[in-house]
């Protein structure tokens, strides 16, 4: 079961991975954007980690909501409201539960995806975060429905997110700043899809442990 502690460790692991990959993300954004995705996201996730550090007794919903609100107000770029919506919708989906089972977590992540779509109106193939997040949700739903435990399901989702991220390379950007580049956006990996792959892989690492026990 995914409880508050598990969520907390996922979020801090994600923050740590963002910090570690900060330059990579910024370099990717330099090729097709304004060279700030790593800096933006790192600013947001580290602000969120300190915001979460204060109170030990937070529910999954409050943790996710705090994460979302902090990203909204501190990231600065498009990924702020997008990641913000993702976590806020996850918080809504988590409801008042103390912990989430595998179907509930998959449902929450899908709600997050819906939030990203509602906010950014991106579609498959637009070369955005969506292209990594959507296949990850599909894979997760599928694996959970087939009776896999969350850990295994999330590792399948990680593979799907990575594949989705790689698939953004040949795409022509149709959303976000990269869309201003038109044809010149082809041949570069989308920074947002790259950070989403980190989000899913950290979930697999942080949330796998206790489910199988």
């Amino acid at each position: 079961m995914v409880d508050a502690e598990a969520i907390r460790s996922w979020l801090s692991l994600f923050a740590a991975e963002v910090a570690r990959n900060r330059d990579l993300l910024t370099r990717l954004d330099a090729a097709i954007g304004d060279a700030d995705h790593g800096a933006n996201l790192d600013r947001g996730t580290s602000a969120a980690v300190s915001a979460l550090a204060g109170d030990a007794a937070l529910s999954p919903r409050t943790l996710l909501k705090t994460m979302g609100m902090t990203l909204v107000s501190s990231v600065g770029g498009a990924s702020g409201p997008l990641y913000g919506s993702l976590f806020l919708r996850m918080a809504g989906s988590a409801g008042g539960a103390d912990s989430l089972d595998a179907p509930a977590f998959a449902a929450a992540l899908r709600a997050g995806l819906d939030g990203v779509v509602a906010r950014g109106r991106a579609q498959a193939g637009d070369k955005t975060m969506y292209d990594a997040l959507s296949p990850a949700c599909d894979a997760l739903d599928h694996a959970v429905a087939a009776g896999n435990d969350l850990g295994h399901a999330l590792s399948l989702a990680t593979a799907a997110a990575d594949a989705g991220r790689n698939a953004t390379i040949p795409m022509l950007a149709r959303k976000g700043r990269a869309s201003y580049l038109g044809e010149r956006s082809v041949g570069h990996q989308d920074p947002g899809a790259t950070s989403v792959a980190l989000l899913i892989s950290t979930a697999a690492r942080a949330l796998s442990g206790d489910v199988s026990q």
């Binding site: 909204v72 501190s74 600065g76 770029g77 498009a78 990924s79 109106r121 700043r177």
Partner: protein
């Protein structure tokens, strides 16, 4: 006062833009709040900061949010999700370019405009800039180039140089209300005094910022108007006016619509026209003496009286805006634009200055208002152009409307009951009529396509228009009979005429009763061919009316009603809700949802389009939807969601090539994929056939559609090359033109055995044409809800569905008149 919020990645940029705008305000207080940058030097946007800015800028009157790019838009949308619902109600996200949008918005807000007005003006700033930068087309209307240099050298001691130029008016009906309104609107944006003189008549000079004064120039097509600008922005203002004149003051459709029709109405001498069907018989009643009586009151102090005037104007402004929305829905944006002129009149600086002066001189608000209006009215009535002279009526009506608001007088006072005989009515007056007392209307002027006529039809008041001024002399109490179906008016009719009319009335009622009795049985010809009869819907109440009349499906849902008269597109959720309500109201029958069908003649504020010389042949229907596909994609998502619950057909409008259909179908497939639940079982796909080329290529389309729906109104106008709204060619546009019939046959032949052919234009409701349409192969007719039962009855009268001879005779006829004769 409307507040403004500037959202930018950069605080420095936002602050500089605010300073630029402040220069235009000359000390007026407009609340402008900035939400820009994560701090003074870090670029970025923050939804929570935007929430605070919106709250700071909103004093209860609402806010307009201007944004730069990318995340600014996403964060602003997010902020709107986060604010209080009532604050959100009043807030408008504005797609205008940040800098010029802010400048225009600030001026408009300072002038007391509402958030939606401010946003609309700000968006307009882009078109103004585009129009300015675009190279002037050859053969332009400027006859003399700028002579600013001369002005300067003539008087070098003058600190504020005058720039002058001469423009030749190219608008077909001259500088009438709508183009004049544009000129006034634009002229108010500059720190410059702009004066106009009509060189051909010697009228003027008048300030370009006053609509009432500009109209008195009587500037007709071909007249030369001198434009003289002074002040710090004289040169800019002048350039701007010239660019505007070049674009014919943004008059979209120079050949048609309100202006010529209305003047034609005023010219008519006894050629009455039917405007709203039905028969009415009763004593004549008039309302010529219905002007508000201005009470003798002791005036309060001048600020109090002035506040009364402002409050009354605000009330009337809301009322006009409400009617404007309804008019745009029924008649399109071009039709509704006349109300902009009304709105501008009540905000006219000259008029208001006059009122203020009269109040300062000790008059009470109602007296000051009515006297000031009377002098404007007199100016209009004094010009030589007939159309402009007729505008005195508008001034009078709007003046009365404000006077009523000031004195609380009832809307219209009518002495007695019976048939109302009037010169002309404005829509607000028709809307206010008490139908228990007024059984019919005869107008001396007016036109069957006016808003007043549309309203009379929707309120089921039998009406005849353009009856000529002689009817006004009919003494009150005289018996008057009118037939709103044929346009006949009888003054003091003989017993025999009365009997005849009564019989006609009875017959019409009996026919309706018969049709109603069979409303809920299928429509089957005598030889056993079933024809589906559906309804065209434009609202949820329509769907209820359709169900009451026995509609077997909605053959056309004009989804535009969800999109018009607002500043943001409906969300997917909102659409789902409405489509669901339509299906519910229709008892779960099939909904044919036509995707958003708009074009340059009725642009949406959130889907801006560059002006087009000929919007009917431009970006509209599916062309526009595919070019701005976000709206389409959102709509398809909503349609797909509803299609899992209830039978739904998607119909794409104005398709002319198979590629367009393929693209549109691809978008639909993506929407289905996104839903992730497989293809909805009852989902069907079809196209509107409105373009002759599509009709002739029906064979190529057939494998890709489940149905064709022939939109005979547009198909006719494109086939005979005669625009519907243009009264001088309207008679060419008869859908029974054999040319149009050939196209319908081509569609039916290609479709045979493969897919269904429907007709959803006005022709479908023409009972005389029903046998011919069925003989051609049409198997679905979609009509106005109130016509469903009658059309079903018409199908039941058909002896032979496949009447080859009828088809042959109609297709070889020389023209629509012959076709009608054949149909009997």
């Amino acid at each position: 006062m409307t507040g403004l919020v500037v959202v930018s990645h950069s605080r420095a940029l936002a602050e500089a833009a605010v300073s630029l705008a402040a220069e235009m305000l000359h000390g007026s207080e407009v609340r402008i709040a900035v939400a820009a940058g994560l701090d003074a030097t870090t670029f970025g946007t923050d939804a929570t900061a935007i929430v605070k800015a919106i709250e700071a800028a909103d004093d209860g009157a609402g806010v307009v949010v201007l944004m730069d790019l990318g995340s600014a838009v996403l964060s602003a949308e997010m902020a709107l999700d986060m604010v209080d619902p009532d604050v959100r109600e009043r807030a408008v996200l504005c797609a205008a370019p940040l800098v010029e949008g802010l400048v225009v918005a600030a001026v408009a807000a300072a002038g007391g405009a509402t958030p939606s007005e401010v946003a609309a003006e700000a968006v307009g700033s882009l078109a103004a800039k585009q129009g300015h930068v675009a190279a002037p087309p050859p053969g332009l209307s400027i006859v003399a180039e700028l002579s600013a240099a001369n002005g300067l050298s003539a008087d070098t001691s003058n600190q504020t140089p005058t720039c002058t130029a001469i423009v030749k008016i190219a608008n077909r009906h001259g500088l009438h209300a709508r183009p004049a309104a544009r000129l006034v609107q634009e002229s108010r944006l500059f720190d410059a005094r702009i004066e106009l003189r009509n060189l051909d008549t010697g009228a003027g000079p008048v300030p370009a910022t006053s609509l009432s004064r500009v109209a008195t120039l009587g500037a007709l097509c071909g007249h030369r108007v001198e434009v003289a600008a002074t002040g710090s922005q004289a040169q800019e203002a002048l350039n701007h006016v010239l660019a505007l004149a070049n674009r014919r003051f943004d008059e979209q459709d120079p050949t048609s619509a309100a202006a010529p029709q209305r003047s034609a109405g005023h010219r008519a001498h006894g050629t009455p026209m039917p405007a709203s069907p039905g028969i009415a018989i009763g004593p004549a009643v008039s309302m010529r003496a219905a002007d508000v009586e201005i009470p003798d009151e002791v005036p309060g102090d001048s600020p109090t009286e002035w506040r009364r005037v402002r409050a009354a104007i605000a009330e009337v402004r809301r009322e006009i805006q409400r009617i404007r929305v309804a008019a745009a829905r029924e008649g399109g944006e071009g039709e509704a634009a006349i109300f902009d002129a009304h709105l501008m009149l009540i905000d006219d600086t000259d008029l208001l200055d006059d009122v203020r002066a009269r109040i300062a001189a000790g008059q009470a608000a109602p007296r000051a208002w009515i006297d000031a209006i009377a002098s404007v009215e007199a100016e209009f009535a004094g010009v030589s152009d007939e159309y402009l002279r007729a505008r005195a009526l508008d001034v009078h009506a709007v003046g009365q409307q404000v006077a009523r608001a000031l004195t609380g007088a009832p809307a219209i006072r009518i002495e007695g009951e019976g048939v109302l005989i009037v010169d002309d009515l404005v829509p607000a007056q028709v809307a206010d009529l008490d139908t228990s007392r007024v059984t019919g209307i005869v107008m001396a002027a007016g036109s069957p396509t006016s808003h007043s006529a549309i309203l009379a039809r929707s309120r089921a008041i039998p009406t005849v228009v353009a009856a000529g001024p002689a009817v006004l002399d009919v003494p009150p109490g005289t018996t008057v009979a009118l037939d709103g179906t044929t346009g006949r008016v009888f003054v003091d009719p003989s017993e025999e005429t009365l009997r005849e009319l009564d019989a006609a009335d009875q017959q019409a009622r009996a026919k309706t009763a018969l049709a109603r009795a069979g409303a809920f049985s299928p429509a089957v010809t005598r030889d056993g061919v079933e024809v589906l009869v559906g309804a065209n819907l434009g609202s949820v109440p329509d769907a209820r009316a359709a169900a009451d009349n026995g509609a077997e499906l909605a053959g056309l849902v004009r989804t535009e009603f969800l999109y018009l008269g607002r500043h943001q597109p409906p969300t997917t959720e909102e659409q789902i809700e409405v489509y669901r309500s339509l299906a519910d109201a229709l008892g779960g029958e099939r909904l044919t949802l036509r995707t958003l069908d708009i074009g340059g003649d009725k642009p949406l504020p959130y889907a801006p389009q560059p002006p087009e010389a000929n919007p009917f042949l431009g970006m509209r229907g599916i062309r526009l939807a595919l070019a701005q596909r976000d709206l389409l994609d959102d709509q398809l998502r909503a349609i797909v969601a509803v299609a899992y619950e209830t039978p739904v057909s998607v119909m794409f409008p104005m398709v002319s090539t198979v590629d367009e259909l393929a693209d549109a179908r691809h978008r639909l497939d993506l929407a289905i994929q996104l839903a992730g639940r497989g293809r909805p079982a009852g989902l069907q796909v079809g196209i509107m056939v409105e373009v002759p080329a599509a009709a002739l290529k029906a064979d190529a389309f057939a494998p890709h559609v489940d149905f064709f729906s022939v939109g005979t109104n547009d198909l006719t106008q494109y086939t005979v090359a005669a625009e519907r709204g243009n009264p001088s060619v309207a008679s060419l546009g008869d859908p029974l033109d054999p040319g149009v019939l050939h196209l319908i046959r081509a569609v039916c032949r290609a479709a045979e055995g493969r897919c269904l052919v429907a007709v959803c234009g006005e022709l479908a409701a023409d009972e005389a044409a029903t046998p011919l349409l069925v003989a051609l192969g049409v198997r679905e007719l979609s009509v106005a809800p109130s016509s469903v039962a009658v059309v079903k009855q018409a199908v039941r009268q058909i002896d032979r569905a496949a009447d080859a001879e009828l088809v042959h005779r109609a297709l070889t006829a020389a023209g629509p008149r012959d076709v009608r004769a054949i149909l009997g």
